[in-house]
Amino acid sequence: MEFALSEEQRLFADSLRNLLADRLPIEALRRHAETASGFDADLWDSLVELGLPGLLVPERFGGAGLGVLDAVVAAEVLGGVAAPAPFVGSIVMATLAFVHGATEALQNEWLPRIAAGEVRFGVAFAGLAGQTGTAAASLRDGRMSGRITGAIDAGAPTHLLVYLADGNAAVVAADEPGVSRHMHRSIDRTRPVVDLTFDNARAMVLDAANAPVATAQRVLDAGRVVVAADTLGAAQHMFDHALSFVKQRVQFGRVIGSFQSVKHQFADMVTVLEPCRAMVWYAAYAQDALPDEARLTALHAKAHLGDVGRDIARMATEAHGGMGFTDLLGLHYWFKRISFNRQMLGGPERCREEAAHLQGWDLNKASA
C-alpha cells in the first residue's frame, strides 16, 4: 500500500512547472487576457514538445499511456500558474472519449493525432454536465443541429466533441460548414466560454458500444476530477502567495503575520486545503483503479474543491489587504480561475445532487 505520487510523477510535475514558470510570467498572463482565448500557440507547441497532449493516449497509439492521476498532477501545475491551455477538455476528456467510447478504427485514426498535438478539441455537453445555459443539440443521419452554450477549450479548437443528452457523442470539424462558434471572454481571462451553433453540420459519431450514458459519465467524471485538481493548484498558489505576503508586510509596527487573527485564518485555510490534495489523488486513482468508487469520489472532489477553492480565494485575497483587490499583483487571475472552475461541468450544488441520486438519496417532493 503506497498512497503517494511516484518519483516519476514528481519529476514530471517539476519539469512541467519549470517549463511554465519560464513561459508564463505575469506579463504573459496580462497579454493573454486581451484575447482571452485560452490558447497560446507558442505555449501549446512547448507542451506538445513535452508530450502533454499524449499523456492519456495509450502507448500503442503514440502516447504516454498514463492515467487520470498523472493528469491531475499536471492539472495542479497548470492551475498553479493559471495556464491558458486547452487541457481538461482537449487533452483529457477528448482522449478518454476515444479510449473508452470509440471503435479500434476510430482510435487508430484519432488518438495518434491527439498525441502528436495536431488536433485540439472543444468539448460541449447537451445535458448531463449539469451546467446552466442552453443545451439543445440533436444528431440525425450524421448531421448535427442545435445550440449549446458554455463549451470548454473551444477558444481555438480544430474539432468539437459534442455529447448529447443520451450520452452519444460526435466529432465535428471546427471549420465545417454549418458550425458557428461565438467566443466570450470569461470572468477567467485564461479560459473562454464558447457558444456553439450547429446547422445540419456534418458529424462523425463515436461508437460507445452499448453504454453511451455510462461512457459519457466516465469521461465527464474524469474531467471533473481534473478541474478539481486545477482549482487545487490555483488555490495553493493563492495560499502560498498570501503566506509570504503576511510574513513581510508590516502594519502597526508588526509583521501582520504575527497577529493571532491572521495566523488563525491561515491555520483554517491550510486545515481545509491540504486534505484536498489527497482527495483529488484518490478520486483520480479511482477513475482508473476503483470503478465502484469512481463516480462518487469524482462528484465529491468537484464539489468539495469548488467550495474550498472559493473560501481560499477569498481569504487569501483578504490577507493581502488592499493590494489583493487591485490589479497590480495580478492575484485575481487565480481568484477568477477558481470561480470559473466552480461553475464548469456542474457546480457543487449539482454535483452533490448527483451524488445523492447515485446513492438513492432522492428527495421527497414536499416534506412539509
Binding site: G133, G324, T326, D327
Partner: protein, 401 residues
C-alpha cells in the same frame, strides 16, 4: 412596538409621493456607473435640495433646508424614493463626510464657501486618506506637508481615492508635524484637484474597472488657511468625519433588494430542465439567507428607532459594517452560483456604463471581497466591535526586543 407611521410622517409621505408624481420624470436613471453627475442629475439634485429631500437638516444659511433632525423623516423619504425607483440624490464623500465635518469643526468662512456648492453638486470632493504603506494602520500615513511662506507644500502618494479622476476638490490627511507622535502629527487640508504638481492615475481592481485612483503629490502648494481646525488636529477631524460616514455598507434595503433578485434568478434559471428553486442546495441556501435577512431587517428597524430616540446604539450599530459585508458577499455568492456557467461571460463596460446582469453580479461578488478589505477591513471591524463595543482590552503594546 408600532410599525405604523405617525400622522406627521404619514403627511410627509403623502407630500413626497405628490412630489414624485409631479417631478419623478425628471429623475436620472438609478445606478449606472460612478461618473461625474451630468446636467440632468444636477438639476434633479437642486430640486431635491430646494424641497428638503436631501440636505434636509443643514441650516438654511449654508444652503440647506433647515429642518429639525428626524431620522424617521429621512427614512420615510428614502423609502418613497426607493419604492418609486427614482434617484434619491447624490451620495458622494463630499456630501456624506466633508459637509457634516465642516458643520461640526469648520470655520464659518469654510462653511459658507463649501457647503452649499457641495450639497447642490456643483463641487465634487474626493478623500485623500489611505496610502500604499498605511492600509489598516491609517495613522501611520507618510505624505508630508511642510509649511513654507504661507503654504503647506505636499509631497507623497495617496491610494483608493475613488472619485479623484473627476473631483474638483480633495480633503486630505498629511503629516505636518513629523516630530510629534503619529496621531498628533497629522493635519486635515482642503485643496483643489487642479493644484499644480498633483497627478491622478487610475487604479484598476480585480473587477477589471478603475473604481479607484492613485494620487501623486509633487511640491503641491496648499494655502495655509485651507486647513481645518488647525495643525496636528487632522486625526481628530478625520474621526469626526468617520463618525458621520453613512454606512452604505450593510444597508438592509439594498440587501433585501439583492435577495429579491436572487429569488427571481432561482425561479427563472434551469439545469437540464429543473428550476434551481426546486434543487435542494440552492433553495436551502436561499432559505438560510432569507432567515438572516429577516433578522437583519428587523435589526435595522431597531437601530432606526433608537436613532430617532437619540439613543446611542453602541455595539448594535458597530456590527453593521462587518455583518452586512459578509451577508452581502454570501448573497452575491449565491447569485453567481445560480448564474453558473451561463454567467461566466464577462465584459465590463467600464465604470461609467451599464453592465449585463451576470457581469454586474460578478462585479458585486468581487467588490464585496474588496469591502472586506477596504474601508476598515474585517479584522479592523472586529477589533472595533470587541474593543469599543464589548470593552475587551486593546491589543497590548509589543515589547521592542
Amino acid at each position: 412596538m408600532d410599525l405604523s407611521l405617525s400622522d406627521k410622517h404619514r403627511a410627509l409621505r403623502e407630500e413626497v409621493r405628490a412630489f414624485i408624481r409631479q417631478h419623478g420624470h425628471k429623475s436620472p436613471k438609478l445606478g449606472g456607473g460612478r461618473k461625474r453627475p451630468d446636467e440632468k442629475a444636477l438639476d434633479w439634485q437642486k430640486l431635491l435640495v430646494d424641497h428638503g429631500y436631501v440636505a434636509r437638516t443643514i441650516p438654511r444659511e449654508f444652503g440647506g433646508y433647515g429642518a429639525e433632525p428626524d431620522v424617521m423623516e429621512a427614512a420615510v423619504i428614502a423609502a418613497e424614493f426607493a419604492a418609486a425607483g427614482v434617484y434619491a440624490g447624490l451620495t458622494n464623500q463630499g456630501i456624506s463626510m466633508l459637509v457634516p465635518t465642516l458643520l461640526e469643526v469648520g470655520t464659518d468662512a469654510q462653511k459658507k464657501q463649501w457647503i452649499e456648492k457641495t450639497i447642490r453638486g456643483d463641487v465634487i470632493w474626493c478623500q485623500g486618506y489611505s496610502e500604499p504603506g498605511s492600509g489598516s494602520d491609517l495613522a501611520s500615513l507618510q505624505t508630508r506637508g511642510v509649511l513654507q511662506d504661507g503654504h503647506f507644500v505636499i509631497n507623497g502618494q495617496k491610494i483608493w481615492t475613488s472619485s479623484a479622476h473627476y473631483a474638483d476638490m480633495m480633503f486630505l490627511l498629511c503629516r505636518t508635524e513629523p516630530d510629534k507622535p503619529k496621531h498628533e502629527g497629522i493635519s486635515y487640508l482642503l485643496l483643489s484637484m487642479k493644484t499644480p504638481g498633483l497627478e491622478v492615475r487610475p487604479l484598476r481592481t480585480m473587477t477589471g474597472r478603475a473604481e479607484f485612483n492613485e494620487v501623486f503629490f509633487t511640491d503641491v502648494r496648499v494655502p495655509e488657511e485651507q486647513i481645518v481646525l488647525g495643525r496636528g488636529k487632522g486625526w481628530y477631524v478625520a474621526n469626526v468625519t468617520l463618525k458621520h460616514e453613512r454606512s452604505m455598507i450593510g444597508d438592509a434595503g439594498k440587501l433585501t433588494q439583492r435577495l429579491e433578485q436572487i429569488i427571481a434568478l432561482l425561479k427563472s434559471t434551469e439545469i437540464d430542465g429543473t428550476k434551481l428553486i426546486a434543487m435542494a442546495e440552492y433553495r436551502d441556501r436561499l432559505l438560510r439567507l432569507q432567515g438572516e435577512m429577516l433578522a437583519w431587517k428587523a435589526h435595522s428597524l431597531r437601530l432606526l428607532t433608537e436613532a430617532a430616540q437619540g439613543i446611542d446604539s453602541g455595539v448594535k450599530r458597530m456590527i453593521i459594517k462587518y455583518g452586512g459585508t459578509m451577508l452581502g458577499f454570501r448573497l452575491a455568492s449565491l447569485a453567481v452560483d445560480a448564474l453558473g456557467a451561463a454567467g461566466l461571460p464577462f465584459e465590463s463596460q467600464g465604470e461609467d456604463a451599464e453592465d449585463d446582469d451576470a457581469t454586474t453580479w460578478n462585479i458585486d461578488y468581487m467588490y464585496d471581497v474588496g469591502l472586506m478589505i477596504g474601508g476598515g477591513s474585517n479584522n479592523i471591524q472586529k477589533n472595533i466591535i470587541s474593543e469599543r463595543g464589548l470593552d475587551l482590552p486593546r491589543e497590548p503594546k509589543v515589547a521592542r526586543t
